[in-house]
C-alpha cells in the first residue's frame, strides 16, 4: 500500500512535468510566434508573408494536434510503466 502511494505520487509528478512541457510549447507557438514575437520573425518569408502570420493561421493549429497526440502517447507509456493503466 505504501509502495502504491509512492508509485502514484511519482506518476502524478511525471504527468505534471509532461503537461508543463507541452503547455510551454502550446503558449510558445500561439502567444509567442503568432503574436508577441511576430515582429522578430518578420524577416523569415513564407508564401508571400512572414512566419508569424503562418503560425497564426496554420502553424499553431498543426502544433496543437501534434501536442495532443504526443501527450496521449507519452501518457500511455507512463500508465504502463507505473502499472496504472486500465
Amino acid at each position: 500500500m505504501a509502495d502504491d502511494k509512492i508509485n502514484a505520487a511519482e506518476y502524478w509528478k511525471a504527468n505534471v512535468r509532461l503537461i508543463t512541457g507541452c503547455m510551454i510549447v502550446w503558449a510558445f507557438v500561439s502567444y509567442g510566434c503568432a503574436m508577441l514575437f511576430r515582429p522578430l520573425l518578420s524577416g523569415i518569408p513564407i508564401g508571400g508573408t512572414d512566419l508569424g502570420f503562418w503560425f497564426a493561421q496554420q502553424g499553431s493549429i498543426l502544433t496543437f494536434i501534434g501536442l495532443i497526440f504526443f501527450y496521449a502517447w507519452k501518457m500511455n507509456k507512463l500508465d504502463q510503466k507505473f502499472g496504472l493503466g486500465e
Partner: protein
C-alpha cells in the same frame, strides 16, 4: 432539375439519414441517454465532438471573419482550437475517470456542496441557452435561404428533427447523428474550397494554395492580396495588431472558454477508457482542423476573388494599381452570383456617383480620400455581408447545382449538431443534477429517464421560442457564453483536479467572483443585461481598462476566480479526507470502469 428541387433532395436526404439513426440508436437506460452507454470509439467520439463544436458560426461565418479581419482575426482560429490542448491535458481524462454523467456532478461531489452544484448548474444553463439561440436562428436562416420557406417554419422543422433523435436517442442518438452531420458538413465545406484553390493557384489543397503563387499574376497569393486591398484603401491583409495584450487575452478567453463549455466536456464521458479520452481529444482536433485550416484559405481567396471581380484589371500582373483602379465593372455587367445574392439583401449596391460602375473601396480611410475625389467617387457603393462567402462559394467558382445543395445540407447539419449537444447538456443538468441529485434523490431509473426526456423536450421548446423571438442582444451573447465558461466553470474544474486543498467555500466564492466580475465588465460596456443605452461607458478602446475589450475579459475573470478560490481556501479548513482521496483517485486511470450514476 431546378436548384430548389436539388436543395430539397440533399436536405431531405440528410434528414432521412438522421431519422434512420434516431430509430436505430434508441436509448434504453439513463446511461445510454447521458453518455451513449459509455462505449463510443475514440475516433467516432472525435468526429462527433467536431460536429458538436463546429456551429453555424464556424461553418458560415468563420471564413468571412478572416476575410474581413485578416491577421487580426486569427484569434478565432487559435482560440477555438487551442482549447482542445487544455481539454486533453487538464480536464478530459480526469473527468472521464471520475465517471459521472454531467459537469455539475463533478463540481457538486468534489466540493461536497449542493450550493456549488447549483451554482454550476446555473452557469451551465446560462452559457448553453445563450449559445443555443444562435444555432436555432442559424438553422432558420439556412432553411429560408435554400428551401424558400419562412425562417420561422425553418426553425420549427429544425426543432422537430432534433426532437426526434434527441428525445428518443439522448446522447446515443446525438452521437451517431453528429458523426453523419460531420461528414455532410466537411464535404460541403471542402469541395468548393478545392475548386477555388485550383482556379486561383493551381494547387488543389486550399491550405497549401493559400501560401503559394497566384497563377494569374505570378505573385504569391497573400502578397497579391495585400497589394490589392491596399490599392483599395484598406489595411494590409497580413498587417500586425497594435494592442497585443488584448489579442492575447481574447485568444486565452476563447481557449479556456472552449475547454470549459459543458457540451464539449460531456462528449468525453462517452468513451470507454481514460486513455481513450486523451486520444479522442486529438482526433476531435484533427477533424476540427480539416475545416479550420481550410477557412483561412477560403477567406483570403474569396476576398481576392471579390476584388478582382469588381476591378478586373487588378487580376493579372499590374504595373500601376492607380490605373487599374479607374475601371471597375459596369453594374449591368455584374456576374450572376452578385445578382442572386442581391435578391437576398446580403449584397447591396447603391450608385452614389451615378456612373453605372461599381466602386468598392474603404471610404472611411482619410488617406484614400484624395484618390477617390480625383476619380470622382462619392463613397463605397457595394456592401457585402461577410456570411455569404461560404454560401456563395459554389456560385463564385461556377460549380454545379448539387454543390449548392450540399452546402445547404452542410449549413443545417452544423447548426443542428451543435444545438443537439447543447440541449443534452441543459437537459441532463436539469434531470440529473437538479431533479435526481438535489430535489428528489429517491427517483427511480425509469423516473429519471422520463424526467430526462421531458427536460429535453422542454429545452427544445425553450430554444425554439428563443429562436423565433431572439432577444435583441443575440449576437453579443455568444461572447457571454464563452466569458461564463472561461471565468466560472473552467477554473473550478481545473482546481478540483490539480489541487487537493481547494475546499467548497473557496470554489463557491471563486466561481461567483469570476462570474460577477466578468458580467460587470461586460455590462459596463455593452449595457445592463445588454439593454441598449444602459451601458455606463462607451464600448471603445479608449475606455477599456488597460485596453482589454469586454470580450477578452473572460481570461481576467478566470484569474480572479483562481485567486479568490485559493485565498478563501487557505483561510478556511482543509477539505475532508474522503474528498482528498477522491481527488487522488481521479488522477490515476486505473479502475476507471464505466461511467456510473450513483
Amino acid at each position: 432539375m431546378s436548384q430548389f428541387a436539388i436543395n430539397l433532395l440533399f436536405v431531405g436526404g440528410s434528414f432521412a439519414l438522421y431519422i434512420g439513426i434516431a430509430i436505430w440508436a434508441r436509448a434504453g437506460s439513463t446511461k445510454d441517454f447521458y453518455v451513449a452507454g459509455g462505449g463510443v470509439h475514440p475516433v467516432t467520439n472525435g468526429m462527433a465532438t467536431a460536429a458538436d463544436w463546429m456551429s453555424a458560426a464556424s461553418f458560415i461565418s468563420m471564413a468571412g471573419l478572416l476575410a474581413s479581419g485578416g491577421y487580426a482575426n486569427s484569434t478565432f482560429l487559435m482560440g477555438w482550437t487551442g482549447g482542445y490542448v487544455i481539454l486533453a491535458m487538464l480536464l478530459a481524462p480526469y473527468l472521464r475517470k471520475f465517471g459521472k454523467f454531467t459537469v455539475p456532478d463533478f463540481i457538486g461531489d468534489r466540493f461536497y456542496s449542493k450550493t456549488a452544484r447549483v451554482v454550476a448548474v446555473i452557469c451551465l444553463i446560462v452559457a448553453s441557452v445563450t449559445y443555443v439561440i444562435g444555432q436555432m436562428t442559424g438553422a432558420g436562416v439556412a432553411f429560408s435561404r435554400f428551401l424558400e420557406v419562412p425562417s420561422s417554419t425553418g426553425i420549427w422543422i429544425a426543432a422537430g428533427i432534433v426532437f426526434l433523435y434527441a428525445v428518443f436517442g439522448g446522447m446515443k442518438g446525438i452521437t451517431y447523428t453528429q458523426v453523419a452531420q460531420y461528414i455532410v458538413l466537411i464535404i460541403a465545406y471542402t469541395i468548393p474550397a478545392v475548386f477555388i484553390a485550383l482556379q486561383l493557384t493551381g494547387n488543389p489543397i486550399p491550405m497549401f494554395g493559400m501560401f503559394s503563387t497566384h497563377t494569374e499574376s505570378g505573385v504569391p497569393l497573400l502578397a497579391k492580396l495585400n497589394e490589392v486591398v491596399t490599392a483599395l484603401g484598406f489595411r494590409d491583409y497580413t498587417a500586425d495588431v497594435d494592442n497585443k495584450l488584448n489579442m492575447v487575452l481574447f485568444t486565452l478567453s476563447l481557449m479556456i472558454g472552449t475547454a470549459g463549455l459543458p457540451h464539449v466536456i460531456i462528449r468525453f464521458f462517452t468513451v470507454p477508457k481514460v486513455a481513450d479520452a486523451r486520444w479522442s481529444a486529438g482526433w476531435a482536433l484533427v477533424f476540427i482542423a480539416l475545416l479550420y485550416l481550410t477557412a483561412p484559405a477560403v477567406g483570403s481567396m474569396a476576398r481576392l476573388n471579390l476584388a478582382t471581380t469588381i476591378y478586373p484589371e487588378m487580376a493579372g500582373q499590374v504595373e500601376d494599381y492607380q490605373e487599374a483602379l479607374a475601371n471597375p465593372i459596369l453594374y449591368e455587367e455584374r456576374p450572376d452570383w452578385i445578382r442572386t445574392w442581391e435578391d437576398t439583401g446580403l449584397i447591396v449596391f447603391t450608385d452614389r456617383n451615378n456612373d453605372g460602375r461599381i466602386q468598392m473601396y474603404n471610404d472611411a480611410n482619410p488617406g484614400f480620400q484624395p484618390i477617390a475625389s480625383e476619380l470622382g467617387w462619392e463613397g463605397n457603393e457595394l456592401t457585402v455581408n461577410n456570411d455569404i462567402l461560404v454560401l456563395a462559394n459554389p456560385e463564385i467558382a461556377n460549380l454545379p447545382g448539387w454543390v449548392v445543395g450540399l452546402i445547404a445540407a452542410g449549413g443545417i447539419a452544423a447548426a443542428l449538431s451543435t444545438a443537439a449537444g447543447l440541449l443534452l447538456a441543459i437537459s441532463s443538468a436539469i434531470s440529473h443534477d437538479l431533479i435526481k441529485n438535489t430535489i428528489n434523490p429517491s427517483i427511480t431509473e425509469k423516473g429519471e429517464m422520463l424526467a430526462a426526456r421531458i427536460s429535453m423536450a422542454g429545452a427544445i421548446l425553450l430554444a425554439t421560442y428563443l429562436g423565433l423571438n431572439p432577444p435583441g442582444f443575440a449576437a453579443q451573447v455568444v461572447a457571454l457564453a464563452f466569458g461564463i465558461a472561461a471565468a466560472s466553470l473552467f477554473p473550478v474544474l481545473m482546481m478540483g483536479i490539480f489541487s487537493t486543498r481547494v475546499n467548497s467555500k473557496g470554489a463557491i466564492c471563486g466561481m461567483l467572483a469570476g462570474l460577477i466580475s466578468t458580467l460587470l465588465y461586460i455590462f459596463t460596456y455593452l449595457g445592463w443585461f445588454f439593454i441598449p443605452g444602459t451601458n455606463m461607458l462607451a464600448n471603445v478602446e479608449a475606455n477599456w481598462l488597460l485596453g482589454i475589450s469586454p470580450l477578452s475579459f473572460g481570461a481576467v475573470g478566470a484569474m480572479i476566480n483562481f485567486a479568490v478560490a485559493f485565498a478563501v481556501s487557505s483561510a478556511t479548513e482543509e477539505p475532508p479526507q474522503e474528498i482528498q482521496e477522491l481527488v487522488e483517485s481521479v488522477r490515476y486511470p486505473k479502475g476507471a470502469g464505466a461511467a456510473t450514476g450513483h
